[in-house]
């Protein structure tokens, strides 16, 4: 069962990575297709940063007392 | 050998410098550039040199060995030699900071005396215009360092773990690291005398700071190092206060000095990076031919002022918040009354922290910043008087109808209130755009700043030193000499700096050795006052040295104070408390019968712990 937990966690990492890549491609597209893209880029960056901090860096674990 | 670690640090530091500098020369030769250019060489050699110094002085033994899988080596040294080592005990580090910064304070004060000799009469008297500017810059930056680090690094390190009932700081080795980053800062600043000096003041504005002597590079490296030290210190305080409070030490029971360090640490942790970034950009402009601030190549000198003041305005609150905390920590114990409006006071601290980040451009009213920014920054600046007002109301409410015990710490705390009031009120004229256009860069600003920082922060520092002297040393200072020091310093401080407001209104410029002849007599008066002010520290130093050497043994709790540090012997044992204290009540409830702050297991004979013996 530890093995299944591990596999689930690894799969989650892969999904996060795919999401990050998609966001990056969208970012690139917006930068060349939309005039004055700054605001959209900032929003996407915040999403990127949240994905990494939450899923890779386990930010919300900081507020959990256990462990 | 007592000084073996320091010697090893110097040797390893020199090796690191040679390695880095040699590498730089090699790279330059490979790239076909002229091999020796002093400024990049110094800069590139400095960082490995700094690393070598830190490792040599002790970081290798107690820390870095474990990165290579080796066991760490700790020496158990408990006599005076531990002050010259990479010791991790917060009480030792506090004393290291305190002594270092008192020495630096006296050195920078000596520079101020030289300036006042020069300003005795209009025109050149004892030094060249350039040397005056260098001395003035040295005075400025060293005093800024003292103001940032003496209370936080010295008294904060000593007292915060004791006040919250902890055994040590959260990261004792980082704590030692942030102290041992300070000696290189002092050495670099003093060695500017051999590198042509720096004449750009402690603010280092370009374009001057990009074209002057190589001393500027040493200044930048010194201040970047100092910034790194204060960032690490702030990180440590935040983690300590968040995590190491004794059982029952809730946020509503936290001593106010701890709150003030907590609030100030948020600023140090974040804003300090802007100072480092700005100074790094100057180095890049100077040495890598970049163009951040070089208008001739398309850069923007004004950008530096924005970056610099984004740190340096909040920095005045790094200096003054712990001073507030210290004064307010002392007032209840010596008024025998609870701290008035405690929650509002804490809210005031955080109001100051928040506002301090959105006022920086009030330093740019005459710098050519767009006009539409004047109004907003004037408004945010003046908003700061609201949280500061809360702090003052709390102080006044605490001493109101109290049974004041006018011991030396209390006198300094009251002197702090008086001086800071003048400093704060005169600040309004600098924050108001119409008056500031007239007052900018005059002695009015000098007077205002010295009333807040010297009259405020330095007075609070002395209050704290006298307050905790018996706890730190285990001996009592001489009360008569202490009172003499206070009155001498208080009176001469005011006669020195009050006339500066007048000088500023009449247009005397700061940061220059010369002034209109009509202002000669007032300047002479200020200089004589300043010499008297300077001599007051002879009383202080002799009191400290004599009392530490042969003062009477201090009791565990000479002030009958309720906070935790007084419930253990003086000086406290190595691990502070025999067992984690149980905090059960508010620290300042003087006059309430049966009110208890904390239960401390075993104590050095100070009577009932935490009970108000006065009431």
């Amino acid at each position: 069962m530890d093995e299944t937990r591990k596999r689930a966690q690894l799969r989650l990492g892969l999904w996060v990575f795919i999401a990050l890549i998609i966001l990056t491609v969208v970012e690139l597209w917006i930068a060349f297709a939309v005039p004055r893209p700054l605001l959209y880029l900032v929003v996407i960056n915040l999403a990127d940063a949240w994905l990494i901090m939450e899923y890779f860096m386990h930010l919300s674990r900081m507020w959990r007392a256990e462990e | 050998m007592a000084f073996a670690p320091i010697l090893r640090g110097l040797v390893w530091g020199a090796l690191g410098f040679l390695l880095g500098g040699g590498g730089a020369v090699l790279v330059r030769l490979l790239l076909g550039l002229p091999a020796f250019q002093p400024e990049p060489l110094i800069t590139i050699g400095y960082f490995p040199g700094l690393l070598g110094w830190l490792l040599g002085v002790g970081a290798w033994d107690v820390w870095a060995r474990e990165w290579f899988g080796l066991p760490v080596r700790r020496e158990a040294v408990y006599d005076w030699r531990r002050y010259f080592r990479f010791t991790t005990d917060h009480k030792v580090i506090g004393v290291q900071y305190l002594v270092t910064f008192v020495v630096l304070f006296l050195l920078a004060g000596f520079f101020a005396m030289l300036m006042r000799i020069e300003l005795m009469a209009p025109g050149p008297t004892i030094m060249s215009a350039g040397l005056y500017n260098h001395i003035m810059s040295m005075h400025g930056i060293i005093m800024i360092a003292v103001a940032v680090a003496a209370i936080i690094g010295g008294l904060g390190n000593f007292a915060v773990p004791l006040l919250i009932g902890a055994e040590d700081m959260a990261f004792p080795r980082i704590n030692a690291l942030s102290y041992w980053l300070i000696p290189p800062v002092a050495v670099l600043l003093v060695s500017t005398f051999f590198a042509g000096g720096f004449d750009s003041g402690w603010t280092a504005y370009p374009p001057l700071s990009e074209v002057n002597a190589p001393g500027q590079v040493l200044f930048n490296l010194a201040v970047i190092t100092f910034g790194f030290s204060s960032i690490l210190g702030a990180l440590n305080f935040l983690a300590t206060i968040l995590r190491l409070r004794a059982p029952g030490m809730t946020w509503r029971r936290l001593p106010i000095f701890v709150w003030s360090i907590f609030a100030a640490s948020f600023i140090s942790l974040t804003a300090t990076q802007f100072l480092a970034a700005g100074l790094l950009m100057i180095l890049l402009d100077r040495e890598a031919g970049m163009t951040f601030f070089n208008a001739a190549r398309g850069g923007a000198p004004l950008l530096y002022q924005h970056i610099f003041w984004f740190y340096s305005h909040p920095a005045v609150y790094i200096m003054i918040l712990p001073a507030f905390g210290l004064a307010l920590e002392i007032l209840p114990h010596f008024s025998r009354k609870p701290l008035y409006a405690y929650p509002w006071l804490v809210a005031g601290f955080f109001g100051i922290v928040f506002l301090s980040f959105i006022v920086w451009a009030h330093h740019l009213f005459t710098s050519g910043m767009p006009d539409y920014l004047h109004g907003p920054f004037m408004a945010t600046t003046e908003l700061i008087s609201i949280p500061t007002g809360l702090v003052f109301l709390s102080a006044l409410g605490t001493i109101w109808m109290g049974r004041l015990r006018l011991k030396t710490p209390m006198l300094f705390a009251l002197g702090f209130l008086f001086n800071f009031l003048i400093g704060g009120v005169t600040g309004i004229f600098n924050a108001d755009v119409p008056t500031d256009l007239h007052l900018q860069d005059t002695y009015f600003v000098v007077g205002h700043f010295h009333f807040t920082i010297m009259g405020g922060m330095i007075f609070a520092l002395f209050a704290g030193i006298y307050y905790w002297f018996p706890k730190i040393t285990g001996r009592m200072y001489n009360e008569t000499l202490g009172k003499l020091h206070f009155w001498w310093m208080f009176l001469t401080f005011n006669t020195t700096f009050i006339p500066m407001f007048w000088l500023g209104l009449f247009g005397m410029n700061r940061r220059i050795f010369d002034y209109p002849p009509a202002l000669g007599s007032v300047n002479r008066f200020i200089s004589i006052s300043a010499f008297l002010l300077g001599s007051s520290f002879v009383v202080f130093v002799s009191n400290m040295v004599l009392s530490w050497a042969r003062g009477p043994q201090a009791a565990a709790n000479p002030w009958q104070a309720r906070t935790l540090e007084w419930q253990v012997p003086s000086p406290p044992p190595v691990h502070n408390f025999p067992a984690p204290p149980q905090v059960v009540g508010h620290p300042y409830d003087y006059g309430f019968t049966n009110s208890v702050h904390a239960l401390v297991g075993v104590s050095g004979g100070s009577g009932e712990q935490g009970v108000d013996t006065d009431g």
Binding site: E3, R5, K6, L10, G13, F17, I21, T24, E27, L28, I30, A31, R36, P37, L41, I44, N45, D48, A49, I52, M53, F56, M57, M62, E67 | W67, G69, A76, Y78, A166, E167, A170, I174, I231, A234, L235, L238, R243, L244, T270, T272, Q273, F274, A277, M281, A288, G289, M290, T291, F292, R297, G298, G299, L303, H306, F310, P573, H575, F577, P580
Partner: protein, 187 residues
């Protein structure tokens, strides 16, 4: 002199996590200073000479290295030494590849916007400062790899792994903001 130490029972790993996050906040302000200088000096314009393909490529490499770092941390938490070592090594290689990419960028940048131009100033400083962080991360990962090969980490001793890998992710987060600041923002 020996004193019996009485420890307050508390989770030191959690304190270290707090310390590390505070360090990230602090470093974030350093990059905030540099990134905001870009807008002050260069506004929202975007030089045409930027190599967009290379920019996208190194961004992808860095994101991929974050995935391998995550896999390394996850596997050591489950006690899988082999997978931990493989993924740490992959992260080191990807990080080095990123640095090679930055070096290629620099070679081009010297031609199109050398350091004494406004955009060059920003470009070299931001990529240089970030590259320095990547380099230090690679060094830390190398330490991690060699300790890992000696079997020093297991389910009980994971803080060094967690700390270094958090730092690596942080460097990635910073790049997430630097990438559009340098390559994408336009007016």
């Amino acid at each position: 002199m020996q004193t019996v130490r009485v420890h307050v029972p508390y989770d030191h790993t959690h304190t270290r996590r707090i310390g590390l996050w505070l360090f990230f906040i602090s470093e974030g302000f350093l990059f905030l200073a540099l990134i905001s200088s870009r807008y002050y000096l260069f506004g929202l314009s975007r030089p045409e000479e930027l190599n967009q393909a290379l920019g996208l490529l190194i961004t992808t490499i860095l994101l991929l290295s974050s995935l391998t770092a995550y896999r390394a941390e996850t596997s050591i938490l489950h006690g899988d030494q082999g997978m931990f070592l493989r993924n740490t090594l992959a992260t080191i290689l990807l990080g080095s590849l990123f640095l090679v990419g930055v070096a290629l960028e620099w070679a081009e940048a010297f031609r199109f916007f050398p350091p004494h131009t406004r955009f060059g100033t920003i470009f070299f400083t931001l990529t240089g400062m970030h590259g320095f962080h990547v380099l230090s991360g690679v060094v830390l990962l190398v330490f991690l790899y060699f300790h890992g090969r000696r079997g020093r980490f297991g389910v009980t001793n994971t803080w060094p792994v967690e700390g270094v890998i958090k730092y690596w992710h942080f460097v990635d987060v910073v790049w997430v903001f630097i990438y559009p600041t340098l390559y994408l923002v336009s007016s």
